[in-house]
Amino acid sequence: MADIVLRNLYKRFGAVVALHGLDLTIGSGEFVAFLGPSGCGKTTALRIVAGFERPDGGQVLLEGKDITNLPANRRGMGMVFQAYSLFPNLTACDNVSFGLRVRRVGAAERRKRAMELLDLVGLASAAHRYPHQLSGGQQQRIALARALAIEPRVLLLDEPLSALDAQVRLQLREEIRRLQTQLGITTMFVTHDQEEALSISDRVVVLSQGQIEQVGAPTEIYGNPSTVFVAQFVGTMNRIEGVARSGGAGVVDAAGTRLPAQAARDWVGDDRVLLLLRPEAIEVVWGPDGRPATGEGLAGTVRSQIFLGSVTRLYVATDVGELMVDLGSLRALSAPIGSNVSLAWKPEAPRLISLTSRPDGHLPSAGQGAPALAEPVGRR
């Protein structure tokens, strides 16, 4: 399988700069997700790799060879589009074998291979149906089979699940990952859905406005966002503005309250910071009678509750703002709307992002250093 190197990719469309010098290495067999909001450049990057766009600057290397100017139909990559990409006049089987037919593979061989792949995606029974007779999920599976039929060196997926129903989306994303692991194909997966990206990739590249915000394993991205953007885009975060002082005792001052934060322990200089805390990291202090205890921790009043299934999200008004707290739904019954609660968290839980040191919000503290380099990590 192939490794891909994106070197200083630059692309503009008229006055809009879609990519600002992108650098990334994707290892052989790696599953990398490109995550970001609309217009961040993720699809542009994918299309450049596929050959449908020419970059205005930079290079694309495949297995060490420069393919920047290689025509799209000679790159040996398989691509799955968001929707409607199956040829409507061909059956599922003919669609899948299209790439083989173009390569002048004999009819019998083509059919055999196509049926194998249809089997792989569980749609052998639909071989003779036309796209308009198939559901969205089935169509995308066929599209996947079609892309795999040519034994591509790289698999490219452009938001393949965005147009599907929630249920189908879940099933299909598992299947895509399963297949990819089984076949070991280097894969680039573009999506705007962070849950998708985090659940199935080896590494996630978070993009915003044509630049990489952070690259890392899903746990890294989720647990240790290195910029304000990533913190906001991935998962839900409580954000509290405050001040971290030098020689501090590991607290952040916010609105007259002192909030525990291990990360502020060895702070240098006085800085305005953003304290980030996941809803699931905040705990309600319970008294011996099973009701919320008051007096310790951050005081607050429950303003509203949102039932999310196994978890209930509480919106608690405090002196430092409204905080989201996730509790198991059974427990949440003991903290109804209007009740006074105390909130606490482990000192290691909060992340701090300095709001004064650098405009792009890159975090210098907690020994994290510069954003993780764009190096591949081993397969999960």
Binding site: A50, N73, R74, M79, F87, P88, N89, L90, V102
Partner: protein, 302 residues
């Protein structure tokens, strides 16, 4: 009418769906009656009259004499010539129009080309008839601008046997409105050929020709054929341009019909009916074909 509705409402306040279903329906039917009566009077009945007249003698008895006369050599020739001109101009205009339309509809084309082309095509398609004939006389006639230009450079068109007032000349003139007509008709269909298909095909290794061969043409052919058929019918029915350019020199069906009407041809009026019947049959056939093909293409290009 409204008082009737109010009566049905009686004590209840006027609500939109209050009148009984039947009353609502008769209301609307009444509203469309004038239109249908008009169309019946001035389109359907005259046409039926013609069709019936083709099978009648002066005194109204049934006969197939007139229709039989149609099959005389000179008239068959007229149909043949008409069909040939229509085919030729439809083919040339169609193919050229297709390539031009494709070039403008393609995603890489600058944004201003498509609206410009649509406008020009609209004008050109409307420019048919008499003005078109004279514009071409001015261009390729015996003293036309292009004729003179070529003559000054040593090529004497008319010496070489070309004349605007002939089959070839008329075909050239007809193509002038066939091409824009094709552009207008085929552009929406071309729009329907999704970029995803092209890109998917390219991604799988196909070149331009392969894409068109395996995917593009199979999807487009109903629209292409339907458009071609429309062009054919359009040329077949053309009267004005032909009258202005070739008058009595060419044997064309519309002209023949005209001749019966204005007395140049002193056959029975029933013969004119027969000629018209022949025309209706041929064009009717093309229209039906066009509808069927349209349905076929809608399936894939929606």
């Amino acid at each position: 009418m409204t008082s009737g509705a109010q009566e049905a409402g009686s004590a209840l306040p006027q609500a939109p769906s209050l009148p009984t279903r039947q009353r609502k329906f008769s209301f609307a039917w009444l509203g469309v009656l004038p239109f249908f009566a008009y169309v019946a009077t001035f389109l359907l009945v005259p046409s039926i009259w013609l069709v019936v007249g083709a099978f009648q003698t002066d005194s109204g008895a049934f006969t197939t004499v007139q229709v039989h006369t149609l099959f005389q050599q000179q008239y068959l020739d007229a149909y043949k010539t008409s069909i040939e001109i229509s085919l030729a101009s439809a083919l040339i205009g169609g193919v050229c129009g297709l390539f031009v339309a494709y070039s403008a509809v393609k995603e890489g084309a600058p944004g201003w080309i498509r609206p410009l082309l649509t406008t020009f095509s609209g004008v050109a398609a409307n420019f048919a008839g008499i003005p078109l004939a004279f514009a071409w006389v001015a261009t390729l006639g015996t003293t036309g601008v292009i004729t003179a230009f070529l003559a000054n450079h040593g090529i004497d068109l008319y010496q070489h046997g070309f004349t605007l007032y002939s089959f070839t000349g008329l075909t050239v003139v007809y193509t002038y409105f066939q091409m824009p007509l094709m552009i207008l008709v085929i552009s929406p269909a071309l729009d329907g050929v999704r970029t995803e298909w092209r890109e998917a095909a390219t991604n799988l290794g196909a070149g331009q020709l392969q894409f068109w061969r395996y995917v593009g043409i199979p999807i487009l052919w109903p629209s292409l054929l339907g458009a071609f058929v429309l062009l054919f019918g359009s040329a077949f029915a053309a009267y004005a341009t032909a009258a202005a350019l070739v008058g009595t020199e060419l044997n064309l069906v519309p002209l023949l019909i005209g001749n019966v009407v204005n007395g140049n041809n002193t056959s029975d009026p029933q013969f004119g009916d027969a000629l018209a019947l022949g025309m209706i049959v041929i064009i009717g056939f093309t229209v039906v074909l066009n509808i069927l093909l349209q349905r076929r293409s809608d399936r894939w290009l929606r």
